[in-house]
């Protein structure tokens, strides 16, 4: 068996793949958080619950309407994103002028309410969600066995991350978002409807979380607490990356997923805490995060 640094290549590549998949979810979720924080200046504690909602939306679409994975990949983020937009209009909007603590408390309460309700309705254990037929099975890459669905997750989340980056950094709408992030009042005085922009932005961030949720359904099952398990790590990712940067959120997400995977190979005992250790080190050396601008 081929070895690298005293570790079998298979094990290394296997964990690298798992790291890349986890990284895909970290990237999608921290990207949504970063977009929301950038414009709304609010830490969206409901992000994990909205990821869970995405998975449940796919599950419910299948069971009550017979709508399968592929349409759900579009429909579930759309539905959950619209719910997010409605939440912004009805509730979050009233909190912008208050201490940021209110937004934090509201979204935290929203997360508890959503997770509690789904736990009441569906129990704490997960519901299985079948891998779509087209992506079932795996392929032998020669050096390792690659489940096709996992490869798909890595590719499609990378595409969605890059598309979102393009939207924000290279389009007119993105220019409005970036400018409003710097000085919302002036952008509004120029004749841009910033309140609508805020609603759209929250909806977009939430839709990204829901999209991640649909992707996760066939891998991790659909369970009410799936969001609260991952979101703590995602917050650490955001801290490491720094709140300010879109590309920073994406790159950090993948990097930390891979770091976690590699730790499983070389020092498995530390794999659950490695991200938090990195977070602590980054906080000591660069409090604004790797990609953040010093405030």
């Amino acid at each position: 068996m081929t070895m690298i640094f005293g570790v079998p290549v298979q094990a290394l590549l296997g964990q690298l793949l798992i790291g890349l998949i986890n990284g895909s979810f970290y990237a999608l979720l921290s990207l949504g958080l970063a977009i929301i924080f950038g414009l709304l200046r609010m830490i969206n504690f409901a992000h994990g619950a909205q990821y869970m909602l995405g998975a449940f939306a796919a599950y419910l679409l299948l069971h009550f309407a017979g709508i399968g994975y592929w349409p759900a990949l579009i429909l579930a983020p759309l539905i959950v994103g619209v719910l997010g937009a409605v939440t912004e209009r009805l509730f979050l909007r009233r909190l912008y002028d208050l201490d940021p603590l209110y937004g934090l408390l509201f979204t935290f309460g929203l997360a508890l309410t959503l997770e509690g309700s789904f736990r009441y309705l569906y129990g704490a254990s997960g519901q299985p969600y079948a891998t779509p037929a087209a992506l079932a099975g795996g392929t032998n890459l020669g050096f390792m066995f690659l489940p096709i669905y996992r490869g798909w997750v890595v590719v499609v989340s990378l595409i969605v991350c890059l598309a979102t980056w393009f939207l924000i950094e290279k389009t007119k709408l993105g220019a409005y978002l970036r400018a409003a992030t710097e000085n919302a009042t002036l952008v509004q005085a120029f004749g841009v409807n910033v309140p609508v922009l805020l609603t759209f932005t929250y909806g977009l961030g939430v839709a990204l979380a829901a999209f991640a949720g649909v992707l996760a359904a066939p891998i991790y099952q659909v369970s009410p607490l799936m969001g609260s398990n991952i979101i703590i790590v995602v917050f650490a990712v955001v801290v490491v990356g720094g709140m300010g940067s879109i590309m920073g959120a994406i790159v950090t997400g993948y990097m930390l997923g891979i770091a976690e995977g590699l730790t499983k190979v070389f020092y498995p005992e530390a794999s659950n805490i490695v991200i938090f250790v990195i977070m602590a080190i980054v906080l000591l050396i660069r409090p604004a995060g790797l990609f953040g601008r010093e405030a």
């Binding site: 007119k172 002036l186 004749g191």
Partner: protein, 233 residues
Amino acid sequence: MPALLEISGLNAWYGESHVLHGVDMVVGEGEMITILGRNGVGKTTTLRTITGILRKRQGVIKLAGRDMMQVPLHRTAHHGLGYVPEERGIFATLNVIENLMLPPNVGKGGMSLDEIFELFPNLHERRNSPGTRLSGGEQQMLAIARILRTGVKVLLLDEPTEGLAPVIVQRIGEVLKTLKERGMTVVLVEQNFRFAARVADRFYLMDHGKVVSEFPVGELPDRMDMLHKVLGV
């Protein structure tokens, strides 16, 4: 000259702090007026209140006869008000072109990109630089240029020459002359009344949140001593 912008009895507050105490002002179509006044008398506040950025306000603001008091902030530009803030408001995360194209078109008669670049050749050279990498003078040009693109009827311009070198001040003076020839209506806030005298038709002198006197540019020589004393320049 028909009045385009009419302001009367304008009061405004920052929280509990009452800053404008009944400002009266009339600006004719195509006219260029200048607001003078010491630091802190409420010149910037007057512009911010007219645009609707400062919303704790009372009194009358009419643009072409239309009541602007109820118009939400994101609609004031569409009624023809363009605002160039004192701090210029150039966005660091947008390059020069993006900064230039940011404000939506709100009316006919805005300058085309070609005209803008003819008037401000520097902006063309630096079009791909991040907005805040420009020099102070270039940022001021950019702040003015992006409003001229939009086709607003009234330009509210807050201390465009503040902190700039004499050649740049000269350049901004030429730009204002060009605007005047094009028939743009301008409300200029300026401490440098010698500069303003080259372009303004009329002056308003403010003190303690009120207009204390108003006079045409022709009377400026007679009032020089008084202005020196009041403005402390």
